[in-house]
């Protein structure tokens, strides 16, 4: 069973988002996603200041078996990236919701966050996938 913290929002593609006090959102991949990928050996984070629209492939996680895109969950500008992942991609496996965060965005329109899933809805989404 994978961990799904209550205080986060989730996408169909298994990204999680955390709304920060300054209005930015922190983005990472869910516990389910890191388990499915297996041990990570490389994370390509986006460039600071880069702008993306929703659904753009903006980062890449490579595991021992395959590469997988991280899609930008909401339109916005990259305001921070987790530089620790360059040397320790395995942080995503060990701590997907804390030390393994990938990047932070300043969203263009914070109201679009309302369209994302809460923990309960994401839990149902995962259950449906396993059926």
């Amino acid at each position: 069973m994978s961990e799904i913290p209550d205080n986060l929002l989730y996408t169909d593609d298994h990204e999680w988002l955390r709304l920060e006090d300054d209005g930015s959102v922190t983005v990472g991949i869910s516990d389910h996603a890191q388990q499915a990928l297996g041990e990570l050996v490389f994370v390509e984070v986006p460039e600071l200041g880069a702008s993306f629209t929703e659904g753009d492939a903006c980062a890449v996680v490579e595991s021992v078996k395959a590469a997988s895109d991280i899609y930008c969950p909401v339109a916005g500008t990259v305001s921070a990236v987790n530089e620790a992942l360059a040397d320790e991609p395995e942080l995503v496996n060990g701590s997907p919701y804390e030390d393994g965060w990938v990047f932070r965005l300043q969203p263009e329109d914070a109201t679009v966050l309302d369209d994302l899933m809460d923990a309960e809805a994401y839990g149902r989404h995962l259950a449906a996938l396993e059926d």
Partner: protein, 367 residues
């Protein structure tokens, strides 16, 4: 659900993540394939490779048939128990499979071929055996354990009856012995020292338990793949196929051209290819920077284009390595297409790693 080896319940109990491999449910890893990889390079690991196909060959025509079937020559086996790596070719010189054949005295041989190619191999052998007095007997009753790593032989010897253990420790590379139903060969697919052991099911279960209790790391197919890639060992179906010859697969050394009058399947096509020049060759690639090369990616060299056949992340070198089929004279710098970018890499000699040591010159560290 796929076929299961006799150790399946033990894999489940050890927390293995199981995957389909050639119709078998096999362990991919037992938690961390990277830890398993390091265990084999530094200490000892054990792999259940019971899915591999073992065929015992006997009958008055065995030797003559194998000299016709295989590109390497079993006449090179001059002492009993000695093993030989060879490809089995089709008439066009393409690789039907790669295998190890052991001479067990007189007209008796034992062959170990890949699991995923079992049906095609057996069919191929049956179709070529007609004119020879040969009996083929598949040994699906035997389990197979590969114990690999610098401490593997010592660790496993402790659980063999004393006299067998001592004899096994005296084996040279590619030598084997068989005693009391246990077959031990000093071979492997990891680039480390070790044994491949064939034994009956209950004995395999006992030995597996004893090895794990002694701290030998159980290892899955994930680590097996990164270990063999670091060792520059080809994977059938990926680095060589029905459509590539040994000459194009870094395996020219496995073709026994002499004696010139030995007729083996594929010889004519291989000789033609050798005479007209081999256009493509399998070579090693080392990625200059961060990222991971994967099978199927395109490679641009000064001599033309090629393609990666196996790629991944090397836990020992902490960077990406690959095998690629490239223009034969390609050398030095090249570029690999990873998604939409061309990323710099270097063409290098394989193996990348042998016996725990990095063999490839790394000109510059990753920034």
């Amino acid at each position: 659900m796929g076929k299961q080896t006799g150790l399946y319940a033990r894999h489940r109990a050890a927390g293995a993540k199981l995957v389909d491999f050639g119709g078998w449910d096999m362990p991919l890893h037992y938690g961390s394939q990277i830890d398993e990889h390091h265990a084999v390079r530094q200490r000892a690991g054990v792999f259940d490779v019971s899915h591999m196909t073992v065929v015992d060959i006997s009958g008055a025509g065995s030797r003559a048939w194998l000299r016709y079937l295989l590109a390497n020559d079993v006449d090179r086996l001059q002492s009993q128990g000695k093993g030989l790596y060879s490809c089995m070719l089709n008439p066009a010189g393409g690789v039907v499979d790669d295998l190890i054949v052991y001479w067990q005295g007189d007209e008796d041989y034992r062959m170990v071929v890949n699991a995923a190619t079992r049906d095609a191999d057996l069919q191929w052998m049956e179709s070529s055996v007609k004119d020879y007095t040969v009996n083929l007997r598949e040994r699906a009753d035997l389990a197979m354990l590969a114990v690999q790593g610098p401490q593997a032989r010592e660790a496993a010897a402790a659980f063999l009856p004393g006299e067998i253990g001592d004899a096994a420790l005296a084996l040279g590379a590619f030598e084997s012995l068989e005693r009391d139903g246990i077959f031990i060969a000093r071979t492997g697919y990891t680039g480390e020292d070790g044994w491949e052991i064939l034994l009956e099911q209950s004995a395999a279960e006992r030995m597996w338990d004893q090895l794990l209790q002694a701290g030998v790391q159980p290892c899955g197919l994930g680590a097996r793949d990164t270990l063999r890639l670091e060792a520059g060992l080809n994977l059938y179906g990926q680095d060589m196929t029905m459509n590539t010859s040994p000459l194009e697969s870094n395996l020219g050394w496995t073709i026994a051209w002499d004696p010139a009058d030995r007729d083996f399947i594929g010889r004519f096509a291989l000789a033609e290819q050798r005479a007209s020049g081999v256009g493509r060759q399998l070579k090693g690639l080392l990625l200059d920077g961060r990222g991971v090369m994967r099978a199927g990616q395109a490679v641009r060299t000064n001599s033309g284009e090629g393609q990666i056949t196996s790629g991944g992340f090397s836990p020992t070198m902490q960077r990406s390595i690959a095998l690629a089929r490239l223009p034969a004279d390609a050398a030095g710098h090249c570029e690999v297409q990873i998604r939409d970018k061309f990323v710099p890499a270097h063409i290098v000699k394989v193996p990348f790693v042998r016996n725990g040591q990095i063999k490839t010159d790394i000109h510059k560290p990753i920034e």
